[in-house]
């Protein structure tokens, strides 16, 4: 690993400096992660005092339960919906802000603020707006002849949590797309303009391909966000319902562990989630390597 050529000589001091971070990591990260692995292969008595080794039973039980597949499916729909919507909106807004000359700062400020809203509060705002009885959107939809009740209809519930989650993430994608757009050399765009390519053609054939690394990076980040940071939205808006339609993996691991008190299953789900994070992190770092090579 890279370090400094000029270093200080001391044996105890560096360990002392690392101690706070390492202690927190040991107690609150590695210990619980180890416990999760342990519990995933054991069955606890109702008091959580005695553990019996059961091998892969928790996992076979998990992968034989239809609810888990429903949850995987809900997570897939939810995360792809959030990623697609927030990447699309972020890109469109960034492209237009990059294009204009006046008012950039104003638009920028007006796009980035939702980043600072807690997911659970984003859920509360959207639930109110789309509330089946009191929400103005429900009213407008009823007028248009569309029955709207996200508290009863599973597809509408999914649509609502996807919108709330995507809304919060647009600002993040916007910031990175705008940085990516501003890093594209002016000369490339000008050359294309001289060759007679119109704005849309330039965007599709030059700008978009040059943004691929940014887009891929953001895709991974958005998936991580949708997988792990959206607990609050689900908890505030649907509680995983109706009928498990929005019971995404992070919500299920919470519900089974704390409400259902099924430690073995919850731990097995934790292990599956860890595998997912590791995969996403590896993807992200593979991408970073590539960026270093081609930059």
């Amino acid at each position: 690993m890279i370090g400094k050529k000029v270093v200080f000589r001391s044996r105890g001091l560096p360990l002392l400096l690392l101690a706070p971070q390492l202690l927190v990591i040991l107690v609150f990260f590695f210990w619980p992660a180890g416990q999760a692995v342990f519990q995933a292969f054991h069955l606890a008595d109702p008091f959580g005092q005695h553990f019996e080794y059961v091998g892969l039973e928790n996992f076979t039980r998990l992968f034989n339960s239809p609810e888990y597949y429903d949850s995987l499916w809900a997570t897939a729909v939810f995360s792809s919906g959030v990623a697609f919507l927030s990447l699309g909106a972020g890109l469109v807004l960034a492209a237009f802000v990059d294009h204009i000359r006046r008012g950039r700062m104003v638009y920028k400020s007006l796009v980035i603020w939702p980043y600072a809203v807690a997911p659970v509060l984003a859920g509360v705002l959207w639930l109110f707006l789309f509330h089946p009885i009191y929400g103005v959107v429900a009213f407008a939809l009823e007028r248009a002849g569309i029955g709207w009740n996200p508290l009863l209809d599973s597809n509408q519930a999914m649509a609502l949590v996807v919108m709330a989650a995507a809304w919060k993430q647009v600002s993040y994608n916007f910031v990175f797309f705008l940085a990516g757009l501003q890093a594209i050399p002016r000369s490339v765009i000008e050359a294309a303009a001289i060759d007679g390519a119109g704005p849309l053609r330039r965007f599709l054939t030059i700008v978009l391909p040059l943004l691929t690394p940014t887009t891929f990076f953001l895709l991974v980040i958005n998936l991580v966000y949708a997988f792990f940071d959206t607990f609050g939205i689900i908890h505030a808006v649907t509680h995983g319902g109706p009928g498990g339609a929005t019971n995404i993996l992070v919500y299920k691991v919470f519900a089974d562990g704390f409400i259902g008190q099924d430690l073995g299953s919850s731990a097995a789900q934790s292990i599956v989630l860890m595998v997912i994070v590791v995969t996403l992190t590896v993807m992200q770092f593979r991408f970073l390597e590539r960026k270093v090579h081609y930059a």
């Binding site: 370090g3 400094k4 000029v6 001091l13 560096p14 360990l15 690392l18 706070p20 971070q21 927190v24 990591i25 107690v27 990260f29 590695f30 210990w31 619980p32 992660a33 416990q35 999760a36 519990q39 909106a89 469109v92 807004l93 237009f96 294009h99 204009i100 000359r101 638009y107 920028k108 796009v111 980035i112 939702p114 600072a116 807690a118 659970v120 509060l121 509360v124 705002l125 639930l127 109110f128 707006l129 009885i133 009191y134 103005v136 809304w167 647009v170 990175f176 940085a179 000008e190 303009a193 792990f228 607990f231 609050g232 691991v253 704390f258 919850s266 731990a267 989630l273 994070v277 590791v278």
Partner: protein
Amino acid sequence: MIENNRALAIFAHIILVLGVATIAFPLYYAFVGASLPIEEVLQVPMPLVPGDRLIENMAAAWDKGSFGRQLVNSAIMASVIAGGKIAISLLSAFAITYFRFPFRTAAFWAIFVTLMLPIEVRIVPTYEVAANALAPLAWLLQVTGIDGLLGGRLTANLQWSLLDSYVGLTLPLIASATATFLFRQFYLTIPDDLAEAAKIDGAGPMRFFRDVVLPLSTTNIAALAVILFVFGWNQYLWPLLITTDPSMTTVVVGVARLIPGPEPQPAWNVAMAGGLVALLPPVLVVLVMQHWFVKGLVDTEK
């Protein structure tokens, strides 16, 4: 030269205004809801012009929970997490970059791996360790047989619950791989001549850290502080789990409890007024510190 397309510029502004309005609408609607008396907020459709009850509704939200206390809790949680993460990461990164010692690479990787263990993934066991933060120590004493030598009395007394406490709200979230990497990357760009000069002048490592490294890091610290403050303020799952006492939880959790269920007179106006109070501080921080915020966002993902 790129053509000066007036029509396209107007089109761009139209799209942007529509986009910005769509983004703002949920907040505007919440603001209107928060400013109406209960009869009007429950009207279908609800009026889209603000009323004059904003302060009353905020006061009602304030009285319903321990709102004042919860705001203080959120401020403490966000500042301690931001400050703590920055402090311990500055020190860890300094140790990893400016010293050679056994297990240096191991320490680096140990911190790195935490990136892959978000709290949502290890939620039940993390709660258990928060209920007794000395459990790992007790286990160690048992496994090594030290406890047996002392007749088993020691482990029975090793009990430190973090539930319903500020330590519990902050300490488990205070490690930061991201901040450690950011500072390490930055330290690597500090010219070696500075450390050389400090050594020649007879300054020890901590003197060098305080007088050279720390002042040079201020921009990075400011950028990170904004991101981490927002991160800390917006925590939900963790405070929800480890606090049961309403006066020990955060304002975000408090507001979520104001969401009305299927009741005859659901107080959406009060819930929205509370929501505004809870979301305003981090939004203001991001808007006021916009420059630092964008820098922090882009830097932490490098």
